[in-house]
């Protein structure tokens, strides 16, 4: 695997060649040899796109909403990259990636780069793969990047957390969604979208969400949220009293973002402009409060940790193989000849010794 092949691929990607971008994402996804060099090379070219993560339960309307968002950005003359993550079968590894069907508004428009990815049983690796794919889209020059996942578990939460702004999609009147919120998704949402707002129970869902958001906040935070709070109320009722909120030039001493609730009907596109505005408000907040940089640092730290973990794992696997494989150890443990802690101690001992020697 020549270094030249990778460099050539990166060059073509930076030149705006769609096929090269597609191939780079394939390499990232399948962790083919050389993909690390590629990501290293494109890293310096990233940091221009704003990244939105969208999650929600199956059928909440994520794909349709993403389609409409992409259309909105395209109409503004911006280019869009979409990464849609779908689960794959834990048994066969097979998957049907279906989100593409909903991208009806952007068919044939090559400036919307839509890519389906499957969770290929990469424990924790999915967020790394997604983050790297986002980098590829970013380096390619996409202005807006949207990551879409089914909000089913920790894996998916990790994925959307690689975004600057996290949107949680909620269906009206579904008890399951409340369960989902309890299960920890509430904490990650910067913007909540009650989609299918024409359905019965939508306003109640909105009210419940707002109540939960306010419960989650520090009581004092609610007091000094000032403009944002007012904006939230004005916004979601759509009375258009949203005139002077944006232009307050005196910077707030300590800006606090209170998650906003937006109502949409994705199929008709209703509420999309408001959602876009809220997303842009959040981005402005991130930039002004310095949180954007802080998030970037946290993300980088998490990426490093993740890579370290997987690389150490790899070393350990090799060490295990050298010692005759994990099966023998497992049998020994089952036969009560030893125990898991002793085995771990045993396997790790050389590493620990090595580190301790260095400390001396």
């Amino acid at each position: 695997m020549g270094q030249a092949v990778e460099s050539d691929l990166v060059e073509r990607l930076l030149d705006g060649e769609h096929r090269a971008l597609a191939r780079v994402i394939t390499k990232i996804e399948s962790q083919s040899p050389g993909y690390r060099d590629i990501v290293s090379e494109i890293h310096a070219h990233t940091g221009h796109a704003s990244v939105v993560g969208i999650t929600g339960s199956p059928g909440a309307g994520k794909s349709t909403l993403v389609d409409k968002l992409a259309k909105f950005y395209r109409d503004q003359g911006e280019t869009v990259g979409v990464i849609a993550v779908d689960p794959s079968s834990p048994y066969t590894g097979g998957a049907v990636l279906g989100d593409r069907i909903r991208m009806a508004s952007n068919v044939g428009d090559m400036d919307v780069f839509f890519r389906s990815m499957s969770a290929r049983g990469q424990l924790g690796g999915l967020s790394t793969a997604t983050a790297d794919a986002v980098k590829a889209l970013d380096a390619f020059g996409k202005d807006r990047i949207i990551i879409e996942t089914v909000g089913a578990g920790q894996n998916e939460v990790d994925v959307v957390k690689t975004a600057d702004t996290v949107v949680v999609l909620v269906q009206p009147g579904s008890g399951d969604d409340v369960q989902m919120l309890k299960a920890g998704i509430l904490e990650i949402g910067d913007v909540f979208v009650v989609n299918k707002a024409d359905m019965e129970g939508a306003s109640r869902t909105v009210a419940e969400l707002e109540e939960m958001i306010h419960l989650r906040d520090d009581p004092r935070a609610k007091l000094d949220m000032g403009h944002h709070g007012a904006e939230a109320m004005g916004d979601h009722h759509g009375h258009g009293e949203h005139t002077d909120d944006d232009q307050d030039d005196e910077p707030e001493p300590d800006p606090v973002w209170t998650p906003q609730v937006v109502e949409t009907i994705a199929t008709t596109g209703e509420g999309i402009d408001e959602l876009v505005e809220t997303l842009s408000d959040h981005y402005t907040y991130l930039a002004e409060s310095g949180e954007l940089d802080e998030k970037a640092r946290q993300r980088a730290a998490e990426e490093i940790r993740q890579l370290l973990r997987s690389d150490v794992n790899r070393l350990l696997e090799r060490e295990l193989d050298d010692r005759g494989g994990i099966d023998d150890f497992a049998s020994a443990v089952v036969d009560k000849e030893t125990d898991p802690y002793a085995v771990t101690e045993d396997v790790l001992e050389p590493l620990r010794e090595c580190l301790e020697d260095r400390d001396d």
Binding site: S32, T92, V96, S116, S118, R120
Partner: protein
């Protein structure tokens, strides 16, 4: 399985092109491919050649399976092939066609760059085996 073994998964796009509302075959094949461990992207009905080209290029699929029962294959397939060529995707995508394709039309499609044509009654295993053996190496 060690963590550094490359996770080679065959990616397929199953596409319905043109005015053709019969997608039972496409569904069956999508599901069989999924169960064979492939990643399958299904295009949905009534797609224009442009949409198929866009999806094939962006998704970087190893295999494009076009299902046509409408009889318009001589018009639609060449359009798709030309688009793949334009984006440099023709050489490393395995293109297979399924559906009702009369014998006399087959040589023409193969000349366009189609790699295989599977008519009605083809055992599923045969198609899966063909894909496994002929899916292009990604380098």
């Amino acid at each position: 399985m060690s963590a550094d073994s490359e996770q080679r998964t065959i990616r397929c796009l199953i596409a319905k092109v043109g005015l053709d509302g019969h997608d039972r075959g496409a569904h069956v094949i999508s599901r069989a491919f999924r169960d064979a461990g492939f990643e399958v992207i299904y295009s949905g009905l009534h797609r224009a050649p442009d949409e198929i080209i866009q999806a094939t290029v962006q998704e970087d699929v190893d295999v494009l399976g076009i299902s046509i029962l409408s009889g318009a294959h001589n018009t639609l397939v060449p359009k798709v092939m030309a688009g793949l060529e334009e984006y440099g995707a023709l050489d490393d995508t395995l293109v297979i066609v399924g559906g009702i394709i009369p014998d006399e039309d087959r040589p023409g499609l193969m000349e366009e760059g189609v790699d295989a044509i599977f008519g009605p009654g083809t055992p599923m295993e045969e198609t899966i085996e063909f894909v496994k053996e002929n899916a292009p190496e990604r380098t």
